[in-house]
């Protein structure tokens, strides 16, 4: 019952996000600010993780193919598919749910317990539109760019690992990543990133917004935000995959 009530509360909360903002110019500025805060500050983290995981995917694939009759270019093929279909959109989104989700929930939660949200409300400003909408829009815009970059860097990391470990040549790896490429798979991956961005921003904001108490509760909200965002991402990943690729 509690879960259903919370879900209803979440839907009403999301409905509030799409109300008319007080000032469009202010909203535009806030979205740009959030892109910088939430998106640009995650670039280095995403590059670092993507590079190494792409490399590990390549090494594991090569290890599984050791001694087999299969052509070496399939290492590049398998790395490409693993990175584009699952690793970049889902795993990076899960990591961002941790990094960005906790940032959002603790930021909004702190504003709640220090009465900053009440101050907005008393001024006649819808706090959900003002605080949450820019975060959702910024992430939905920037996450696909971030994930596209992650795909590129992940595959590049795979190429480096393949070449330096001597498992395949650069030419073989590049042949592999071009082999049987289906553009719809990239579209599917990018659709996922937009949905995951919405989940991370809205679920985390929801937990932050309804924080009650003090600093301890802000910490709890932050943890809940990460856990719930991750669970919803995992479940919706399955549903979307069934819908688009099933």
């Amino acid at each position: 019952m509690g879960l259903i009530a919370s879900f209803g509360k979440y839907l009403l909360f999301v409905g509030d996000v799409f109300r008319k903002p007080e000032r469009r110019s202010v909203m535009y500025r806030l979205v740009v600010k959030e892109i910088s805060e939430l998106g640009l500050k995650s670039v280095a983290f995403v590059i670092f993780v993507s590079l190494f995981v792409g490399a590990v995917v390549t090494l594991q694939t090569a290890s599984n193919m050791a001694g087999s009759w299969m052509p070496r270019y399939l290492i590049g093929y398998a790395t490409r598919d693993a990175v584009i279909l699952e690793f970049s959109p889902t795993i990076i989104s899960l990591l961002l749910a941790g990094k960005i989700g906790s940032n959002i929930a603790s930021g909004i939660g702190t504003m709640r317990v220090t009465e900053q949200i009440d101050a907005l409300e008393v001024m006649g400003i819808n706090p959900v539109t003002y605080l949450v909408r820019p975060k959702i829009f910024a992430l939905m815009f920037f996450n696909p760019l971030l994930i596209s970059m992650s795909m590129f860097v992940g595959v590049f990391g795979g190429l480096l690992a393949g070449v330096f470990s001597g498992e395949c040549t650069a030419a073989e790896f590049i042949t592999g990543i071009q082999y049987d490429f289906i553009p719809f798979k990239a579209v599917y991956a990018l659709v996922k990133t937009v949905l995951f961005a919405f989940i991370i921003a809205s679920v985390s904001s929801f937990h932050g917004f309804f924080t009650e108490g003090g600093a301890l509760e802000v910490g709890k909200s932050s943890t809940k935000a990460v856990v719930f965002s991750s669970v919803v991402i995992i479940v919706s990943n399955y549903l979307l995959t069934q819908l688009l690729l099933g």
Binding site: E22, T110, M111, T114, E115, Q116, A119, V122, M123, G124
Partner: protein
């Protein structure tokens, strides 16, 4: 003027406000006093429209905010200034941006006019050359003054303050009290101040409402308090030795 009539508000079946009626006059400081947990903040939040009472009406110059549509309430809120207990300044903005914020959201002034207004308000609360500092870089008393500047920047008709001098040293507390009183007279605002600071009560209490366990227990002025027959009020106001002595001497 704000009038509250027969306000009842409960949380989880527990009645917090029990049939309170009072009128807050324009151009004077209206103080609400009472022990912690007596219902002062709940009453203030009802006045601000943050809590909806189960019964009764709250009239802002004749307009009942309890039955008002959300759009009308939003319009009315542009005429309201609020000073929260902790200041509630936006941490991500500097002092200038905090005071500028209501103007950016609601006024059609040019940027220069807005900055002039911000500087005027900051000067009015005796703050200068702090525009580019952040809330975390200033003292508690300065935060309260910035909060007051932000509250008056749109020339509100109604000013609400929740324990404006809690956590301040006596000297700064008196400065804040006097500032609120001056601003109230200067702008002819209807000012409502929640407090349990007895200095404030004696210094600036033009009209006082005393709440005890959610009920209106007494109303009057700061000069009436000393001779008031209400025992609860006497116990509350003269609980400290200092005020007991003042009372004895005044007799």
């Amino acid at each position: 003027m704000i009038e509250i009539k027969n306000i009842i508000k409960s949380f989880s079946g527990r009645e917090i406000l029990k049939d309170i009626s009072f009128s807050y006059k324009k151009g004077v400081t209206n103080l609400v006093i009472g022990q912690s947990g007596s219902g002062k903040t709940v009453l203030l939040k009802c006045l601000l429209g943050l809590h909806k009472p189960e019964q009764g009406s709250i009239l802002f110059d004749g307009e009942d905010i309890v039955t008002m549509s959300s759009n009308n309430l939003k319009r009315l809120r542009k005429e309201v200034g609020m000073v929260f207990q902790g200041g509630a300044l936006f941490d991500s903005m500097n002092i200038e941006q905090n005071v500028l914020f209501p103007l950016q959201m609601f006024s059609d002034m040019s940027k220069e006019e807005m900055l002039d207004r911000v500087n005027f308000c900051l000067k009015r609360v005796n703050l200068e050359n702090v525009n580019h500092l952040y809330p975390s870089e200033i003292s508690g008393g300065m935060k309260k003054r910035v909060a007051i500047a932000r509250a008056i920047v749109l020339n509100p008709k109604y000013l609400f303050c929740d324990e404006p001098n809690s956590g301040l040293d006596p000297y700064t507390a008196i400065l804040i009290d006097n500032l609120l009183k001056e601003l109230t007279y200067e702008y002819g605002m209807t000012t409502v101040i929640n407090t349990h600071d007895m200095n404030s009560v004696m210094e600036i209490g033009d009209r006082i409402l005393f709440i005890k366990e959610g009920k209106m227990a007494w109303k009057g002025t700061s000069t009436d308090i000393i001779k008031a027959a209400n025992q609860d009020l006497q116990d509350f106001v003269f609980s400290s030795e200092l005020f007991k002595t003042i009372k004895e001497k005044s007799k």
